[in-house]
Symmetry: C2
Subunit: 497 residues, 2 copies
């Protein structure tokens, strides 16, 4: 284990070297990392199973997703549009007097500290999305490993470093550190220029406050808590089988990976008239869900506390009690807990009911007045990664329209049908949202826009060609998109709107 | 004067209405505001002269600049590229399993609180760049007026509100508030979703810490302090007249508007061999600079303190003492103070020498080893709005290259020749930089990229066309650029890099 000082100084020394690597070279390196991870799948998945208790098919799928993320960012880097290269030609007739040659691009921020998550030991951990985005941007990365899977973290780190080295990336581009004190020490180090995090609201707030209170504050992109409410409108119940199919999808989304997903639906709103049907169907669907191990004793303890508080809250009925069992070796195994309540009890319940339960627990809420849903959503759920609407495709009623407006203001992603778990890794994905979903409601940790978190704007004025970054040169050696404003345009500003 | 509660609730009520105005309508409204400000020029400029002491030509030019900014943002809004509309078509053969229809765009954050600056009573005040960018984004704006020009602020507010009303924008889109306590109360109000600021490091840090420590933190885009060092390399001195022309430009840039500009050059580095020539020429150029009134007694007091500390620092020589004179009516009038020192004294002087002097004071620094400039810049000037290099156009020496790399890492804009004051209002401009130049080193408060500060990403999954924001619809009613990923593309990710 290297000292914090040596890790920070190594990252700082690597920063200008890595920043100046051509995008195509970084893209090749990212693809090489993806290939190396897949080649090491047997070793890595076995370690992940041992340390997390997640099922092998899920882990193999997650590793593949991790490789796909890296390949997607390789394309982003190679394309070069992310550099946002802009060239304003000098203009002697500029409307406010002669204008110089001004060129602007996005440059890498420098060393990024990435606090890995526990629940996606590949996709949100050592070589996960934040790492892929930061490396794609040209920033050296230091991963603070999650204590839930230390051996996997070290093995992944080894695979990544070897692939980066073989691809010719500078030494020190990718490092790992273990331990909360070590993470906090680095977060306080002036050489660290941005941080990312996936985890709890409590830990995320603790770290975000450190980042904001440094002598030189840095951006902190934390993905924290979300309860992902699902609103089934009356128009969603037109066929006799609608309640059952809704219940089946809900049960699967709550149960998979033992509900240890940031997008697990924590609330399902249904009309009171449908509540009994939905609850009965959920009970049937959940009855066949086998026991699943929780990720760690810490998560198990947190889940048990939240589950007790929720079950014991006034006005809450138990649909399926679920189970918690501690094995001889101290692992905690669970089956899903499904509860039900009504809007009045939910509002009266406060945080005991509204806070995230990280694990397989969800609450079905009966409502009587669909017109109330919009104000209810605004009041109770001010910040979520996702919100989901079930309605008929032709529903254009005021309650739906008003609800959707509120959901777009309070969520990072609004779904119509489907389930929020299983985030698709696609260019347009947004995995973010207002506080407490994230610390910084303009970032996303999935999708190609994630790269911008690790970039900063710099303008160059009247610079000779040979000192300009390649993406701003007239000969455009990297062949990236350049947005060019010609002389004379300014006289037309605002005339054609 | 309305209560804080009524101002916040009015802005919150206006937010969804203003957010849903078509971009072309907002663009028309911005042009109408620009035209209305110019039509009111005589009244506004007279008030500005009275309250700030700035010269009429400067103020008329600044008002024109303010109108141009609004017109530029009208074009940005009407064009719609700022919406970053992305559409990923559903894909049954997606590499990680079937992919839904995912569409992402940037949406307005909601009410923005804009703390106006004092030194640009038009361009960085009530109807200034931050207001233009936030309105263009579709966010209601509350301006916290600067106490240095309250009557001008109210008059400007009146002109803007009338123009917005006449253009059909929702009531409550634009409001004003006076008083520090009122500004702080609004900054703490949960209905405010972002804030911008132009002012001192001390006030900016105070407000940034409030924004970061709210129960729900918000982004705070503060433009704070900058000393804008200028580095004249040996290669800049090839003709006998070089020292004199450098000195003349420097004197003008330090003196204009009594140096009360965030981009005023606070340091000019010259080779020791050229120091005497440059200092003599600066003294000559500055000798003819007339007295200029400082903006306010507060700024005058701050300037006097900084000037005394700087003059009194060890190793500092006075080139031109300058003057401060308090008139009978309490206004403070100044002429420029020019000092000189060497690198060793500068390094030993610490904050007494390195902090910004907001006013007409600058220090000429003699250096002996050009190869030291890069490390010196990195150590002494970690965050600036601008850094400027003077060198021959063909200079590609290692000292120049190393210096430029450091300047791009520590500055928002790197100039080659010219002077940092007189920021050009062009699409590619970047007016930002690492702390303490700004609180948030990815924002700019000049140039078209400024709009992104007031936007947040939202994704829509499998949404019916009639609930999608217009920019994401297949029929694209606003005719904005849409980036579309077709089915089948994912199999190619990373293969062509």
């Amino acid at each position: 284990m290297h000292s914090i000082e040596s890790i920070a100084s190594t990252a700082a020394a690597a920063a200008p070297l890595f920043a100046s690597t051509p995008p195509h070279d970084r893209a090749h390196a990212l693809v090489a990392v993806a290939d190396a991870l897949l080649a090491a799948a047997d070793e890595l998945v076995a370690l992940a199973q041992l340390e997390t208790g997640l099922a092998e098919p899920r882990l193999r799928g997650e590793l593949k997703r991790t490789a796909v993320q890296l390949r997607l960012f390789a394309d982003v880097t190679a394309d070069g549009a992310y550099l946002d290269a802009r060239i304003d030609r000098p203009d002697a007739d500029f409307v406010l007097g002669p204008r110089p040659d001004v060129r602007r691009t996005l440059m890498p921020r420098g060393p990024v500290l990435n606090f890995a998550g526990s629940n996606f030991p590949f996709a949100f951990s050592v070589a996960g999305g934040d790492t892929a985005a930061a490396l794609a941007a040209g920033c050296p990365v230091i991963v603070k490993a999650h204590p839930g899977h230390p051996r996997l973290s070290d093995a992944t780190h080894r695979v990544v470093v070897e692939a980066l080295n073989d691809a010719g990336m500078p030494a020190g581009t990718f490092q790992i550190v273990h331990g909360q004190d070590e993470g906090v020490a680095l977060l306080n180090d002036d050489r660290i220029r941005a941080a990312s995090f996936t985890g709890s609201v409590r830990a995320g707030r603790f770290l975000a406050d450190i980042a904001a209170s440094r002598p030189r504050p840095i951006p902190f992109f934390g993905e924290l808590g979300s309860v992902n409410p699902v609103y089934a409108l009356p128009s969603a119940f037109t066929a006799p089988t609608d309640a059952a199919s809704l219940a089946a999808g809900f049960a699967t989304s709550v149960s998979n990976s033992a509900g240890q997903l940031c997008t697990k639906p924590g609330f399902l709103f249904v009309p009171t008239t449908a509540l009994n049907d939905v609850a009965a169907a959920v009970a049937t669907a959940v009855a066949s869900v086998p026991e699943h191990r929780l990720l760690s004793p810490q998560i198990a303890a947190g889940f048990a506390t939240r589950r007790d508080a929720t079950i014991g809250a006034a006005g809450v009925s138990t649909v399926v009690p679920g189970s918690l069992r501690t094995s001889d070796d101290g692992e905690v195994w669970v089956t899903p807990t499904i509860l039900s309540t009504d809007v009045a009890a939910l509002e009266a319940g406060g945080d005991a009911l509204l806070d995230e339960s990280f694990g397989p627990l969800s609450i079905v809420v009966g409502y009587t007045d669909v017109a109330q849903l919009a104000t209810l959503a605004e009041r109770l759920f001010p910040g979520n990664l996702t919100s989901t609407v079930y309605a008929s495709a032709s529903d254009d009623s005021a309650p739906l329209t008003n609800l959707v407006t509120v959901l777009s203001e309070t969520s990072g992603r609004v779904l119509f049908g489907g389930w929020p778990t299983g985030v698709s890794v696609t260019p347009a994905m947004h995995h973010g949202g207002p506080w407490p979903a994230t610390t910084c409601d303009n970032g996303t940790s999935v999708g190609t826009a994630a790269i911008t978190r690790f970039l900063r704007g710099v303008a160059w004025q009247d610079a000779p060609q040979h000192v300009l970054p390649p993406q701003l040169r007239d000969d455009n050696p990297w062949n990236v998109p350049q947005s060019i404003a010609s002389a004379g345009e300014s006289a037309q500003w605002g005339t054609a709107v």
